[in-house]
Amino acid sequence: MPNDAVHSSHNIDRDRLVDLYRTMRRIRAFEEAAEKASLAGLVGGAVHLSIGQEAVAAGVCANLRRTDQITTTHRGHGHCIAKGTDPGAMMLELFGKEGGTCGGKGGSMHIADFDVGMLGANGVVAAGIPIAVGAAHGAKLLGEDRVVVCFFGDGAINRGPFMEGLNWATVFQLPVLFVCEHNGFASTTHSDAVTGGGGANARAESLGLEAFEVDGNDVAAVDGLVGDLIPRIRGGGGPMFLSARTYRLKGHTSVDPALYRDQEHAASQWDGDPLVRAADELRRLGLGDSDLTAIDSAAVGEMVRVAEAADAADTPALEHAFADIQDIGAPVWEAQS
């Protein structure tokens, strides 16, 4: 397959696009609820929103089985939701409450849900790359036909584990799809300004991976291309690389106004909002405005409810600060009277 294959959104089945749109809308609604809670001081730590990048999460994960696995980043809420993690448990985690995906001990940057193959977000840029590669290495050793998808951003391609991990995946011919969400920023720096050479795909190809590019704001295109790649990877085709060009419509964190961007350019990027584009396409395919509105309200309603529930929930019992550290040599907690 040529690596410039064009996947148009014009040949997608309407029902499938409705499902993808619903996933994106749920991610958007979750992020907006998280942003609101963060700005209200209800969520303590840093929250990195994926608003504008929903099509990558939805389009990739729609092609995975529950037993397939992913690793993600500090900007990983969308990947979790798309892979099947319960947003209620995620919101409890953001609020640092009992019942969170990690019992309130991880927060936004450490959400994990092993039951759905979500092997963890990560607070360290590029750190998920070796972990994903190792999960795939484990699948190969255990003779399991899982595929592992490794999400990271364009900031990650300048860290050593990127080079090491891609090389490793090629050397051991591992079932990994690397997905670079190219949102234009490495934290608050324009990634182009700090990246030498030909960029992510050139690096991937030089390390022996087939590399593809896709319009990361076109969910049907992402879905179509990944739908071709995953069976090839599962069938022993080796690791592959996908750059999905998208745009981070918000700042680095929920409290970052992103004034380092050209404001006019940033504002114009909302025209390419992947949800708007998918909605337009759905209308073209004959979906009525009332159907779209129903999807939108259901998503917003769901996430408003999970945020309210998270706000009302209890904080974890104090002894959890000392639980699940280690079996041998664990700290002893003595309740303060």
Partner: protein
């Protein structure tokens, strides 16, 4: 009952890995040059029995050797990670400290990271500043990690087997100068030395020396000489640094009323400071002499032999302090 054989520290480790790989198909080893036996021969012949997938030759990519092991452990395998020299593990600190040590906790107990991180450590024939370090204290500071540093061949078999069976990440420190050291080792392929308890290496009434790894042998030489001078040194071989056996150390100090902690690592911020402070906090009232620490000066390790030797802990250095402590 199984018998005993006299084998080397290196052969004991080889036996441990081979037995555990036979016992559990999820166990595998990865690192640089393992196919040809590892840089110290501690994997010699294993590729013939287990094949190149379970004795995996990797790129020189320490961060990914470590990080991929974390991923492979998270999905149900049990990697034995070879770092070649402890110094090189510093290329993989994020993967050890931020990932392996914390995954279980951060993810609320969903994940386990059963991996053994082998780090050949210590001074060894003019290897200079980047191939000689003893950095065990760093790892004792990190919640989530177990730290072991065996001295005897029998302990290198039994502790390594326990480390491989342990569901926690274990930093496993083998001294490079010990590979050829011979001793009696049980043949039993279920011979386990538990992680945690220390070993009373020598009994004595006058002074407790707490030490580990190669320094146990140096302390034993010092104790022989001290005995001739009428000073009876008791030696506690800690074997595991986290958790460390406070009970045995406290019992010994209660008896001898004197404590010296000896390690090859730099004295400043060394693990000896933790032991000294803990004993001082709990037992100052029984001590009849100040607690003493003996570690290396805070200097990088030289290449030139006389300069390198200057940094070594010797029996004489132990003896001098023992005399000062028992004179009091």
């Amino acid at each position: 009952m199984s018998g005993m054989s006299v084998i080397s520290y290196q052969e004991a480790a080889l036996q441990a890995v081979a037995e555990e790989m036979r016992r559990d198909p999820r166990v595998w080893a990865l690192g640089e040059d393992l196919g040809r036996g590892g840089v110290f021969g501690q994997y010699r012949g294993l590729v013939d029995e287990f094949g190149p997938e379970r004795i995996a030759d990797t790129p020189i990519s320490e961060a990914t050797i470590m990080g991929a092991s974390v991923g492979a452990a998270l999905v149900g395998t049990r990697p034995v990670v070879e770092m070649r020299f402890a110094d090189f593990a510093l290329c993989a600190v994020d993967e050890m400290v931020n990932q392996a040590a914390k995954a279980r906790f951060m993810f609320g107990g969903q994940a386990r990271v059963p991996m053994v991180i082998r780090q050949p450590s210590g001074m060894w024939r003019s290897s200079a500043a980047q191939h000689s370090q003893s950095l065990e204290a760093w790892y004792t500071h990190i919640p989530g990690l177990v730290v072991a540093a065996p001295y005897t061949p029998a302990d290198n078999k039994g502790l390594l087997k326990s480390a491989i069976r342990c569901d926690d990440p274990v930093i496993y420190i083998e001294h490079k100068d010990n590979w050829a050291l011979e001793g009696e080792v049980p043949d039993d392929d279920d011979y386990l030395v538990p992680l945690g308890p220390a070993r009373l290496a020598r009994e004595g009434a006058d002074l407790t020396v707490v030490t580990w790894s190669k320094m146990v042998g140096v302390a034993e030489q010092a104790a022989e000489q001290a005995a001739e001078m009428g000073i009876e040194i008791e030696i506690v071989d800690l074997r595991t640094l986290w958790p460390w056996d406070q009970e045995m150390v406290f019992a010994s100090v209660a008896k001898t009323k004197r404590l010296m902690v000896v390690h090859e690592a730099v004295q400043v911020g060394g693990f000896g400071a933790e032991i000294a402070a803990t004993v001082a906090e709990h037992m100052a009232h029984v001590l009849v002499a100040p607690i003493r620490r003996l570690g290396a000066p805070r200097a990088p390790i030289s290449y030139a032999k006389p300069l390198e030797d200057l940094l070594r802990i010797t029996p004489d250095k132990i003896l001098n302090i023992a005399q000062e402590q028992t004179r009091a």
